[in-house]
Amino acid sequence: MAVLSPPKVGGRPDQQEPRARRSKGGLAGRLFEYLSVGAGLLILVTLAAVAGFLVLRAWPALTASPEELQEISWFGSSTFLGYVGPLIFGTLLASLLALLIAVPLAVGIALFISHYAPRRLAQSLGYVIDLLAAIPSVVYGLWGALWLAPTLDPAFRWMTDFLGWIPLFEGYQPPAKNVLTASIVLAVMILPIITAVAREVFLQAPRLHEEAALALGATRWEMVRMAVLPFGRSGVISASMLGLGRALGETMAVLMILSPGFLYSFFLLKPGQHQSIAANIASKFPEASGLSVSALIATGLALFVITLAVNMFARWIISRRSEFSGAN
């Protein structure tokens, strides 16, 4: 997964310097240059190796005939696309729902820390948020399955009773092992990373802009809206994409919470409708052998491609909007 970094203010100072001058730094300088180039290349090599591995191991499943594929007991479809389609749908649905819940919250928390909270509170709150990121996902899974699901039960009952005419909320069946519960847990899991990045970006909003806005008579909210948010927009987008990356690949929490199913379904409260690729691999892999292993790895390849595509899409959004963002 390609990692996006928050935008920096100004370019690197040495960027404009001619190459000839840099190499004059003697042996140590040259060594450092090789090291850093090597480290940079290593990332590309790793990425290529992962992609190569996935393609190589997925190949038997991708080229298998429908008859061969149907011999896999859990392969409910005759084509690979038919199998992986609902999985991709489930993965994206759960992740996007999580993003929908987490991003507004994270932006709010980040703004509170960067612009509203008293300094001491802001600092300790920042630590607490960072701590959330350190909790292993299996713990989130336990929490979601054993505590959150029963807690959400009455709320879901209410939703399906009173909002059941909206197809989204139709047909809740207890316990709350549905995609909405999974998304809420995912949202909590990706909250810290989005908050942390967004906070850093908001803190970098140019002081002068903020003071100028205040001097023009803006309230604090207007100042945030005019000076901080536009500046931080691309940062928030990259933060969201980082979060989305984690949500897409999240395994344990989804595995422990969701009653899986393989359908294209928008019923958020029904059990057995969705499954994410990563959780599906974790659940099927222990008993898989031969072609079924290849099929699972092929779904992993699909996840890899999606994650890459999501990140590139985010890059594109950021570059398209960079002229408005004030980040350069």
Binding site: Q173, A176, S259, P260, L263, G272, E287
Partner: protein, 378 residues
């Protein structure tokens, strides 16, 4: 090392003599000899063995294996046994690839695997022993019902899991439970979300015994979509515990506080118990192709034998009839002998270990004979 080998050689000689003596005494007095043999083989001689053997396979056996490994360590302190629970398929694969010395498997080896086993076993063959018999309980979460068990026929269970019966006070359930006050709670059927031997045995039972009320084929994957499910036994139990009115199926030892269903066998209703599970295994014929080394049982799910509980899972211990290394041969034999022995089966029976059903003495006789036939190649 040389010293060990020598000692082991002596022991193997002793065991051949023992096996010979056993064969004679078996012919003479049947059942009693088995117990003697088990104690003799499981006695002091084992403490002289050393070596390490690895196993892998069915997660159903994991808890029992844990118990066996722990107590076997006190019988033969110098033999290290490990067991990795990676699923039946993975266990068989690793065993055939030579990665482990024995496998735990919920299913018998198929023909292709038997062929592969010849090469793996240095020209010998695979040995399959039904050493783990575990009743599967149909568990339900109905705190308001105070009956010990709710009675159900296979047909009723099939209809519930197929979604044809949706409330607990359905006439079909009520008719089988006179005098029990059933609530009008909706039934939430819960299944395993992962491929599992428990699911396979459960659907096999429904297919065989429900008389057409179960329209699906037996398989390790749940055939119906859009259902409530849990990953692994603990996931399933958590799910059933999580909602009132839900019903699921799981290894009986894990039923905990949940209610369990008594199955209709013949004209009576039998709740699960170790004896009832062992009874159905004894009442069942051997599978086609079974030999005296591959004791594969074809479970009779429709049995009407009195007191038999037909919803059981058999997990086999798969080993080789030949090993390359003398120490390995002896270690495998000692461990399997211990597992099959009365003591070993009792260990696994304990509720805090696996709650499995001990094998009967008749079966033990056959198992012991198969174990004794394990030799070192050359």
């Amino acid at each position: 090392m040389g010293k060990t080998v020598k000692r082991v050689n002596n022991r193997s000689l002793a065991s051949i003599v023992l096996a010979g003596a056993l064969a004679v005494s078996l012919a003479a007095c049947g059942e009693d000899a088995t117990t003697d043999a088990a104690t003799a083989a499981g006695g002091d001689e084992m403490s002289d063995l050393s070596g390490s053997i690895a196993g892998a396979g069915a997660s159903s056996q994991e808890k029992a294996m844990g118990g066996w490994m722990a107590t076997f360590a006190s019988v033969a302190p110098d033999v290290t046994v490990t067991y990795e629970s990676i699923g039946s398929g993975g266990g068989r694969e690793q065993f055939l690839a030579g990665g482990v010395q024995f496998a735990g498997s919920d299913a018998a080896l198929d023909e292709e695997e038997l062929e592969a086993a010849v090469e793996r076993c240095y020209g010998g063959e695979a040995i399959e022993l039904p050493l783990y018999i575990s009743p599967i309980a149909v568990v339900y979460n109905l705190p308001g019902v105070d009956a010990d068990n709710i009675n159900m026929s296979a047909e009723t269970i099939a209809k519930i899991f197929n979604g044809d019966i949706t409330v607990w006070n359905d006439p079909a359930i009520a008719a089988e439970n006179e005098g029990v006050e059933l609530p009008d709670t909706a039934i939430v059927p819960v299944n395993r979300s992962d491929e599992s031997g428990t699911t396979e045995n459960f659907t096999e039972y429904l297919e065989a015994a429900a008389g057409g009320a179960w329209p699906h084929e037996a398989s390790g994957d749940w055939p119906i979509s859009g259902t409530q499910s849990g990953n692994g036994t603990s996931g399933l139990i958590d799910t059933v515990t999580g909602a009132e009115g839900s019903i699921g199926y799981a290894d009986a030892s894990r039923a905990g506080d949940l209610g369990t269903v008594a199955l209709k066998v013949g004209e009576e209703y039998v709740p699960f118990s170790a004896e009832a599970a062992a009874a159905v295994v004894d009442a069942s014929p051997r599978a086609e192709g079974a030999t005296d080394k591959r004791l594969v049982v074809e479970l009779d799910r429709e049995t009407t034998a009195e007191g038999a509980y037909p919803l059981v899972l058999i997990s086999y211990s798969v080993a080789c009839s030949q090993y390359e290394d003398e120490a390995q041969t002896e270690a495998v034999k000692a461990f399997l002998t211990y597992v099959a022995s009365e003591e070993g089966q009792e260990v696994a029976e304990a509720a805090d270990v696996a709650g499995s059903a001990p094998i009967s003495d008749d079966l033990r006789t056959e198992v012991q004979a198969a174990i004794d036939s394990i030799t070192t190649v050359g």
